[in-house]
């Protein structure tokens, strides 16, 4: 993944051992995901499998593969992990799904720590949650959505107690999102932000909505109404 990750927690005693251990597990989880599923580390399980160097793959590969299949179906192909590159070579790139899946899985390590509220920011995606305890006490986190046309300014603010915010667009890395229908990168102004319960699906829908906002909005209303789309 190669991105900076910030974990913020709110608790009466933020340095208590179970909380510190929970945060350490968040980072450990992300490191493990990177080792298994990185598409740019040559020693990751994913790449070694694609190059035929690995017989026994980590079970996460199967899980991610299944999720990619489900994502492709749910988004009617707007999200597609399998793509034909030049010379017709079929490649599997689950990166668009892995990031949300990984951070969501990492956050689960804090969901079991009592009396804590947390927010994890990872590469423009944000997940917010809280451990067990009186749920009325889970504070709100204010998540700013950056204006894609004016860097370091905010277009909106979303308040979340538990949930995720994912944004897809070309502002950060250019046309890195490929339109599966044309095979070319999408380079236009704007962004798509999805707010919903799970970062994995918020990420998938944000990517799908960046590809085709109109179609994605209709699909989301039909299949995943808990997820809200904001296009800028």
């Amino acid at each position: 993944m190669g991105m900076p990750v910030s974990v913020h927690v709110r608790a009466v005693e933020p340095t208590r051992p179970d909380l510190v251990a929970g945060v350490a597990r968040v980072f450990a989880h992300l490191r493990r995901v990177d080792a298994v599923l990185s598409t740019w580390r040559a020693d990751s399980d994913l790449l070694r499998l694609q190059h035929g160097e690995l017989a026994d793959a980590h079970p996460w590969l199967a899980e991610v593969t299944e999720l990619c299949l489900e994502a492709e179906e749910r988004t009617d192909g707007l999200f597609a992990a399998w793509r034909r590159r030049d010379r017709g070579r079929l490649t599997f790139d689950p990166t668009g799904l892995v990031k949300g899946w990984a951070v969501s899985g990492a956050a689960a390590h804090l969901d079991v720590v009592p009396e804590v509220s947390y927010s994890i920011g990872a590469g423009g995606d944000v997940v917010v949650g809280a451990g067990p305890g009186p749920s009325a006490a889970a504070p709100e986190w204010r998540i700013g959505v950056e204006d894609p046309r004016r860097p370091s300014t905010l277009a909106r603010v979303v308040t979340v107690r538990r949930g995720a915010v994912a944004t897809s667009g070309a502002a950060a890395r250019g046309a890195h999102v490929v339109d599966p229908r044309t095979g070319s990168g999408i380079m236009r102004a704007g962004s798509a932000t999805v707010v919903g319960p799970d970062l994995l699906w918020a990420d998938v829908w944000a990517t799908a909505a960046w590809v085709d906002p109109v179609h994605a909005r209709a699909l989301m209303a039909a299949h995943d109404p808990q997820y809200a789309l904001l296009t800028l």
Binding site: W141, P151, S152
Partner: protein, 183 residues
């Protein structure tokens, strides 16, 4: 007009750990981030203890990095916090320099001055002036960002979703400085 990259609070209620794949030896396990302060020539700051965590993006895989600030929770009963920084006399101004962050356009580094738990000044100390176009981008972006980092405290934002390269480099570096200040 709303503009913000990060939010700084005067009451500490958060424990922040910063992780970087780039510097795996310094990641994760620190219980609290303590301040590494440079004494400002005009101020009477004291040197805090080390223990800064690494930050920055891995240049070969330019994923978007998140910028975030310490959160506050005024109403929830379960919050409060400890100030993890070293010796602090609240009336002295202390200066924190973030890690230099390598962006696609070059290195960006930010220094902030903290007094009484609030950022009173921020200065970009390194910009990617490698060519004429970079100068164009930065001459517009940097002064705005400098002003915004100080005004950021009014915006009450905990995290930001989405960003762009040069601003991200700045934001990450500012985030690094803020995380070190452990506000």
């Amino acid at each position: 007009m709303r503009r913000i990259t990060t939010w700084i609070l005067s009451t500490v209620s958060a424990l922040v750990l910063l992780f970087s794949y780039h510097t795996s030896t310094s990641s994760g396990a620190a219980a609290s981030v303590t301040a590494q302060a440079d004494t400002d020539p005009g101020g009477t700051g004291s040197t805090g203890t080390g223990g800064s965590s690494g930050s920055g993006s891995a240049p070969s895989a330019p994923e978007t990095g998140g910028s975030s600030g310490s959160g506050s929770s005024p109403s929830a009963p379960g919050t409060g916090g400890s100030n993890g920084s070293g010796s602090s006399s609240s009336s002295a101004a202390r200066t924190f320099t973030g890690d230099a962050v390598t962006t696609r356009f070059g290195d960006v580094q930010v220094r902030i001055t903290v007094k009484d738990g609030r950022i009173t000044a921020s200065k970009v100390t390194r910009v990617p002036w490698t060519d004429h176009r970079d100068q164009e981008i930065n001459s517009r972006a940097v002064p705005i960002l400098n002003a915004e980092a100080v005004d950021a405290q009014a915006a009450d934002i905990d995290m930001v979703s989405g960003a762009t390269y040069t601003s991200r480099g700045y934001a990450e570096s500012l985030q690094s400085a803020i995380d070190r200040a452990d506000l």
